[in-house]
């Protein structure tokens, strides 16, 4: 590994992976509703299709379509533990850059809100290349990333702003728990704030990275603060 890549990895370990590991169950309890475009993509897969959900988090997309089989993967052991409840699907702990799958065997892949957690353009392109490598010729991968252009949202990001940001995750200390615990001992009940690193994508950037990764774009668009694209790998 090059020194730069090592740095990227160490940075993400601290500002992405360690955070998800700690917020896993709280994060999971807020994630249950599938997004419409993702749901449609999964429902449109033919019966018997076999695919990957890379960075599957709590696995909320695994059970959308009962007629397909998905192998999910995520870097967070705690989230994979939660995702493993979605039978008959399978989940493993792995990194998007080192997937434990043979090349060219899957019918589709999704990777939702994951690639934006890699901290350099090179690593993001490499991540997309790694996802595309698992697919059969012309098989589609649906990729979602956070947009820089979020004018409608309370987060206040917009065109021209800083694309590399730290996003807070607030775990509220429960008041009830605080009162009960007062009589026992002092326990951490204040709000706890974690920060996750995100790269916010500007218009067109996801498509550029797909091309740089040796892929081509089948379809692309914007949905509520996210850029998305359906990509496939260029035949060799």
């Amino acid at each position: 590994m090059s020194p730069l890549a090592k740095e990227g990895e160490a940075y993400e370990q601290e500002h992405v992976h360690a955070v998800y590991e700690q917020i896993a169950s709280h994060f999971s309890s807020t994630r249950y509703k599938p997004w419409p475009i993702i749901e449609r993509f999964l429902r449109d897969r033919p019966n018997g299709a076999i695919g990957l959900d890379i960075g599957c988090g709590n696995g909320k997309y695994l059970s959308v379509n009962p007629n397909i089989y998905i192998v999910g993967s995520d870097r967070s052991t705690n989230l994979v533990g939660i995702a493993s409840k979605h039978q008959p699907h399978s989940v493993v702990v792995s990194d998007i850059l080192e997937l434990p799958h043979a090349d060219g065997i899957f019918d589709f892949a999704i990777t939702i809100a994951v690639v934006h957690h890699l901290s350099t353009t090179e690593r993001r392109v490499e991540a997309i290349r790694s996802v595309l490598a698992t697919l059969k010729a012309n098989a589609p991968a649906l990729i979602y990333v956070w947009a820089l252009e979020q004018d409608g949202s309370r987060r206040g990001w917009s065109e021209g702003g800083d694309q590399d940001v730290m996003v807070p995750w607030v775990m509220r200390g429960s008041k009830k728990a605080a009162r009960q615990q007062d009589c026992v001992a002092t326990t951490q009940t204040e709000d706890k704030v974690f920060h996750r690193y995100y790269h916010l994508y500007r218009r067109g950037e996801l498509e550029e990275e797909i091309l740089a990764a040796g892929g081509y774009v089948l379809d692309a668009g914007y949905e509520k603060d996210n850029w998305w694209a359906i990509a496939a790998k260029q035949p060799d």
Partner: protein, 131 residues
């Protein structure tokens, strides 16, 4: 981790992936468990043509499980004359969907790296010097 999963896994190291020796990964010191799940005949039927049959046979043998049929069963072997799930299908369901590795290791036949399985979950994260 159910046996079926192993059909779709190989060593995570780039230098191993394209080698025949890396697939299937070999279970070592594996503790098995049966996790009951609803039988879905269509699911099993859809899965069969996608299985690397020789690899699955190797795995059942290495784990000391009942042997798989010599060849991938044909679709007509999966239902009885009255359209019910056949014994062949039921056996495949038990073997592929319910038989799981609870803990142990998965060893790459190419580089020898051992991936741990704990509480039914396999971990493919590589130490950074191996990437």
């Amino acid at each position: 981790m159910k046996l079926l999963t192993l059909n779709f896994l190989t060593c995570a190291r780039k230098t191993c992936k394209s080698t025949a020796a890396a697939f299937p990964l070999h279970p070592k010191d594996a503790e098995l468990e049966q996790i009951e799940i609803d039988m879905n005949p269509l699911f099993v039927k859809n899965m069969l043509p996608r299985l690397e049959w020789e690899a699955m046979k190797t795995l059942t043998q290495e784990l000391g499980l009942p042997a798989l049929p010599a060849e991938t069963p044909a679709p007509e072997e999966l239902t009885t004359e009255d359209g019910e799930a056949s014994q062949v299908l039921k056996d495949l369901h038990v073997l592929l969907m319910e038989t799981s590795v609870a803990s142990g290791k998965l060893v790459c036949g190419n580089c020898g790296h051992e991936y741990a399985v704990k509480e039914g979950i396999a971990n493919f994260l590589l130490p950074s010097h191996m990437v």
